[in-house]
Subunit: 238 residues, 6 copies
């Protein structure tokens, strides 16, 4: 039924390759099927001016997409002179998701900027970004720990994200581009490794959805996030 032949509750092949950017304190190349995102986490020993003197750190994120990550070329935002509303929405979401699992006091007066740059886009770029961002962030914090820049265990939990949607009447997990275009309802779930929600964004594209449908999507998301959490753990294995 699904264009890819997947089962409704079957995720795409997900891979996380750490350490791909030589210069970054943390990095990974995360793939959800044909969606590929290069994530770097950069540690800066300075913080935004509005945080100075509060003895705490900050985590922020930026998101971009290479012009030909998409089927037809998308205009480069640097040429357009501004980030689109969509881009800003996504990078704000990534930043909030990461901050939900970081103890800012224990981070010390340091800032970590996580850059998620989409090399290829086939649906789910924001959920792949968040899932990979946790891995890169985690490595950056470990780098800080080794240099005694943190004041304790700053990471409280892991975090991952997945999208679900109602495709031709059936709730399905991890939408790819073809499904995303057609789905009547599209929801992104960000959850911690311990199974709690950090963010839910559900949108009815054309047909409003019922509470039952939302519950079905939530169940799929819980399963998917469980799988992603295991993959994140595996990525850290020696």
């Amino acid at each position: 039924m699904r264009p890819s032949g997947r089962e409704p509750n079957q995720m795409r092949a997900v891979t996380i390759e750490r350490g791909v950017a030589q210069k970054a304190e943390g990095s990974c190349l995360v793939s959800f099927g044909n969606t590929k995102v290069l994530v770097t986490a950069s540690v800066e020993t300075s913080i935004p001016s509005w945080l100075r003197g509060k003895g705490q750190g900050w985590v922020t994120a930026e998101y971009g997409m290479l012009p030909r990550a998409t089927g037809s070329r998308t205009r480069r935002e640097a040429t357009a002179g501004k980030q689109s509303g969509r881009t800003q929405e996504i990078q704000r979401l990534i930043g909030r998701s990461l901050r939900a699992v970081v103890d800012m006091q224990l981070l010390g007066e340091n800032q970590i900027t996580v850059d998620c740059d989409v090399l290829e886009a086939d649906g789910g770029t924001r959920t792949a970004s968040i899932t990979g961002a946790y891995v890169a962030l985690s490595d950056a914090i470990k780098w800080m720990d080794e240099r005694k820049l943190t004041k304790g265990v700053a990471l409280r939990d892991s975090v991952a994200a997945v999208s679900c949607g109602i495709y031709r009447g059936t709730p399905v997990l991890d939408l790819d581009y073809l499904e995303d275009v057609e789905a009547h309802t599209d929801a992104n779930f960000v959850m911690t490794g311990s199974g709690k929600f950090v963010e839910i964004q559900g949108t009815a594209e054309q047909v409003p959805f019922s509470r039952d449908e939302l519950n079905a999507l939530m169940a799929l998301a819980e399963q998917g996030i469980g799988e992603l959490t295991l993959l994140q753990q595996a990525a850290f294995a020696p």
Copy 2:
């Protein structure tokens, strides 16, 4: 327990005054307690270039906040030279919410732009905006009907929005600013008059939330939207 003395499931006083902008095809002043938004709906008999020749219309929204709608003055976005990420996120949400209840074919090749300008902000500006935007939009479509610009009954349902959150451990309905600042979880619900979901945006500010907590918030939202729907209907009464 709530700063305003309200019950957990008690909304603020909500008023909707139609026809406040003499020149607009539809307009209202909507108040959720001390939050006041001036909404206008403007009909234009042209459509965005990417829609031309498709025989359909479009509904879009813009959002702004007067500099002193807030406790301390906020920089004017026209002076800053761009809209903030928050502003863009909100106006995209309003636009999607309205489009979910409009049949674009029946609208004809016309565009309605809904402007939501916050005169005073005390929490819930986006939910008040959506709730008022439906009323202004509805009047604008009636204006179009009278001039035979539509091709049928373009409005499929009503739409309204409310925020809920977990304040000091208790799920509460319709957060005001004091609650919003402190709430651990903040969720915005957009629903149709017929009780279906158009949009859910739930965010854990510091502490991730459980599925039970989300269910409690959803129940509050359903009640609140029910009340708002009645108030919208009352606003149209002669």
Copy 3:
């Protein structure tokens, strides 16, 4: 003769309602007929960097217009990414007009920003803005006096503004939109309560004007400003 049926020297109904913005240190809603401007005055205990260390304060103004204040929707300046030349001209005029009646030394090292946002536009938005701005400014300075932020009586005089023009050959007072579009000459006068000039801006739209015509407009302006000054005083009455 006038579209509104007014006498040549008859102003529109003018109302000034103080305290409409709960959070601002000073505010009013000023109406010149169907032109409605929401004015707020915001006190900030910091000053522009180029004034630091000079022991004086500053008064500045910003001007905006809601998109549907006009007969057909005007593009939002925050979306366009910049303020128009017209907007900048007007806000510079408002700022100069207010500064002409304020003693910057007695204001202390504080800045007052006056925001004039046009809710409905029917001609004379800049003159209504200045007239209302004085009222909001005055309340903000009183607020400062009560908190001992000023160093004496910083307000030296009152200030108000009115437009005059030559409409179908006759000098008339307080042009509305219909007259403004057609008038051959359009002049804005800013005067103090004591009857002196702060600013004169006279423009021949198509037909240059003579010194006699200018004198006739000045006489009308003096009368109009006299009436506005009384209305400002009345607005402060208990």
Copy 4:
């Protein structure tokens, strides 16, 4: 009494050299004392889109200042990424002043853009610009006449401008920079060769001015414009 030793009603030495820009249809270098402005008038056989099909032309102006036209270097507006409010105000004034003496119907569907670029600034750059702009515009229209691009005598009158002010209590003509900084009142007058007013902009810098003072400034302006009109005529002499 004046820093330059001039009489109160004495203008600076004014020179107008035509034809300085080889490529422009009209041009001149105009000097008011040490203020020097290079003016070009460019004819384009297209018009702004909002004028198309109306069978008329348009005249517009742009204004700029070289970074080191001033005593200390001013930031280049092209680097800053926008024109200042002051620049926009001035170029709008120049454009209105020129349009007041041009019959747009007789200009045909052509646009003339007049560029005023200040090479050295010593007060009065906007009045020198307008005075020179008329000369460049006039040559550009003559160029059009020769090519039968106009439909008749499009120039209805000449136009020139001068500033006056109250300097140390005395009304003086044609302020230079030292006077401009200190003057209590500063007024710019734009008048036609036939002695009528096109534009008056009077501003009280610190002390409001009386009607008598304004009349004294007007008398000085009439004298100065008379002299400038003769100089403009002389510039056209073979």
Copy 5:
């Protein structure tokens, strides 16, 4: 002597991997040592407006760098709101280099946009970009040939680029970052496969260079370009 231990006339390891971007008509990942650039060539069947009706095509290039391609994070240009002067210089150079080997008539009325995005930067990003851009462009033109979009053999020659410089007194080939920072003279050479020059840019960083030194750099460049041309040919081998 060189930080990398290379001989003066020894290039870094260069690899070119074609077809890395699934959606692009041509693409490659090009590496010059640790410098890695992802290049895509996008075919669009429309051309810039200034070329319409001339029966010819166009090739243009854009250049970007991921924020953490560098040792410390560089600000994202999309966030800064504009491309830097350096970025614009580089993308103009890439575009000119490619256009030098394409017959625009034979390309038909199509545009090819080549995007060079630097994933890792270790010196020579512009020369690696040009070298890879030729490969991606070539594949895109082959794609067009197969669809009969071209009017003949549009590629006239191959093109590649390399940098040379004087490092500690010795002319060396293919500078890496450590050498680039310290080199007294830095020159970029763009040459065709047939051994002619397309572009030379030589810059004395601190010490001006002599004609002999330039000749030595040219000889190194000719050798390096010869090697790169072979590598480009090898990349196309089945």
Copy 6:
């Protein structure tokens, strides 16, 4: 053979008039035939933040072109809201060229900004700018010497620039606009008075060039720079 009737190795008439801008610490009007550039050098006793505390100075350049310096009017960059890629490339080139002959340590913690504004453009605006910029810079440094702002003889050499190209098969010196448009190869050379190279930029417009052709252009450049160096010296003669 050349449109101007010049010999292949004949430069246009070059004039350098010093001291044309009264307020600048150094200035000149430089002409290469009909190309005219007004150059000012401004001394500021502050330096960019990234240089603070290093005990050295800085020299930077900006470039602009009056809208009607060209045959048809070019859009003003201040109106467009940004400098073009071409402008940025040129001003970066001018800055690098000047810095190559200045000892930054001996300049003290001061910055000199050189502004090159093209009044008329007939080819070679960047080479005329550099040639004049040296003269203005030199006067500004002399001004600093007199005020003991420098720490020694900061100017190490003179610098000048000229373009050469292959026009209808013949290498020619100092291209004017008509030649520039048609030339197959266009190269700009920046050289010191002592005959060394500071910058070489050679571009094949359509036909790649050979090493022999480049050598021929270099020989022409050496001759031309020799002449320009003498003219620079003559400009300083009493």
